[in-house]
Point group: C2
Chain length 347, copies 2
């Protein structure tokens, strides 16, 4: 069954293709009667415009691309959900690609999306990405690109982020406020801006409270598929290295839950012996025992805002207006649960 075209509608009604096209697009210069006839016939024949032809003419695909390091990830899949929902509202379709944290793949995928002529791109950078030419190339082509979560400060485009430094500061301050004095940090990989910022927030909180910063208390984890295991391993290592630690601020909930599991198995009491604050408010954080104090990271909202900003820029470009990159910072909150003690009165 061949798809129905404008031509067929035109022939059926014995009028021109032009008029059919106009009638369907509600041009004012078509008689009511013709318009009605055309619409009826189109419905009857189950006409669907051929989007390739439309795209070729209008130079719009009504499709955007999303590149994300990892799909199987609660935070990222929540962001995707936000993007898809918002995009659908505005009539956009979403192509999803995953970089597996690889710079090479990310580069290829940008190329792929560009050759598919997506209208714009949403990206969260791979951990391995330290060169940004593939991104600036997109911008140079006048295609809007919006970064979210894992961004590059140096690239001049819109970004949707949280204030990782501030959030980490709050988390660490909470540990201090509840009596911790020797606080370790399980950080993320070295390159990504957000793991750097969380580390800096941790450090600043220590210094502002006149607590010494001790680099041997900082443990790195890749936070990839194995992050639950990494949490267990780091926790075990920490117990071996330092018997005086009384608090840990952990880069991400999954790792924190690994650590809690390890401590539980070894009979280390949380929060009595060691208090823990995680990051992201993964739903399992409230399910584990003890429940995990953590920072709430609004993934759905982030996806939604990222698309909204992209859409704004899309519209601006279409009108030939200048686009000014915008940094959108979403609020985070500290969620106090049972892995930290109740606040002490500040002295």
């Amino acid at each position: 069954m061949k798809p129905v075209t404008l031509k067929q509608i035109a022939e059926t009604l014995n009028i021109s293709i032009t008029t059919v096209s106009k009638a369907l697009k509600d041009y004012p210069d078509v008689s009511k009667k013709t318009r009605r006839q055309v619409r009826e016939t189109a419905a009857q024949l189950n006409y669907r415009p051929n989007s390739f032809a439309v795209n070729l003419r209008t130079r719009e695909s009504k499709t955007i691309g999303v590149i994300i390091p990892e799909v199987v990830h609660h935070f990222f899949s929540t962001v995707i959900k936000g993007i898809i929902a918002q995009a659908e509202k505005k009539g956009y379709l979403v192509i999803i690609l995953q970089s597996n944290e690889s710079y090479e793949l990310e580069k290829k995928q940008i190329d792929l999306l560009l050759s598919k002529h997506v209208d714009g791109i949403l990206i969260s950078l791979a951990n391995g990405t330290s060169d940004f030419k593939h991104i600036t190339d997109v911008i140079a082509q006048d295609k809007p690109i919006v970064m979210f979560d894992k961004i590059a400060k140096i690239v001049n485009c819109s970004k949707v982020i949280i204030d990782d430094r501030k959030a980490a500061y709050t988390a660490t301050q909470h540990l201090i406020d509840t009596g911790c004095r020797r606080i370790a940090h399980f950080r993320g990989p070295l390159l990504p801006q957000n793991s750097i910022d969380r580390f800096l927030g941790y450090k600043k909180a220590l210094l502002d409270n006149n607590l010494p910063y001790d680099p041997t208390l900082v443990y790195i984890c890749d936070c990839s598929d194995m992050s639950f295991e990494e949490g267990k391993q780091n926790a075990a290592q920490l117990l071996e290295d330092h018997d005086d630690v009384d608090g840990i601020f952990i880069n991400t909930d999954m790792v924190a839950i690994g650590a809690i599991t390890e401590f539980n198995q070894r009979g280390v009491k949380i929060p009595e012996d060691i208090s823990i604050v995680g990051f992201s408010n993964w739903f399992m954080s409230s399910a584990i025992t003890p429940s995990l104090s953590t920072i709430d990271q609004p993934g759905y909202q982030m996806g939604k805002m990222a698309f909204k900003q992209l859409h704004k820029e899309l519209k601006a470009i279409k009108k030939g207006k200048e686009v000014y990159p915008k940094i959108i910072e979403l609020d985070t909150g500290l969620i106090k649960r049972n892995s930290t003690k109740t606040n002490l009165v500040k002295t």
Copy 2:
């Protein structure tokens, strides 16, 4: 900066567009010299074929659509990962839509994908879907569609599934083998085939072992966002209704983990008082205490196979061959952990 076209390359080299096109596509009837020149110029100008024009001519978009009930879901996001990985290998891009378990949305999304002229569709049905005209319409248009996980037996298309009934039977049998005699079931919603099949497998295992089937021991949960909470609630309700239950087979791990959490809080001993088997082998199942015995459900593999089958059909259709729907059944396995007792010798 306007995109480079074949015309520009042709003008640069003072040859025809035809020859440029042929040279880039490795047609044999182009001289080596011309081919080299064209390739060089194309690279220099950073030529990218306009996919709309190509699609319009070739009637292929090299894009497929995926409709899934929920993106923020460990099993489904794993399937998506498998689909994307396999599709990328074959040069296909993947548009992802989520039905939120709504039949109405699902219908609209099929329409959307069709009007975007995706080459084929992969779908896991919404819980609410009981009419399949939107699916058979796709098939009638000679577009291949492959169902996975949540399928409709009645629709004549390819499907990638597991044998839910058999897996549930195995899970229930394991409870019986380890000494349980009064076994409850937390099942999924009423419509989806896989929750029906899991229920039937549970029932059959009871009957085959001469254990009475008691409908009051079957609890329903929607398994939506709230499924962790549902597990807790059902567990609490079960304790109130029946104090003699010694085992539960639970439709999905997330619900099972909710139940475990509730039992832990109430001091019900697992597996001594109540044994539990879940379904899906979510990674948290091995993290929780006690770790959860469960059925391993190969999500990545399922996504991979679903795309592979679609791709096969795409190629067949292109060659004008007949397509024969195929049912692909993936293996599952019982994973014994600490929420069930060690096997007793069968009497």
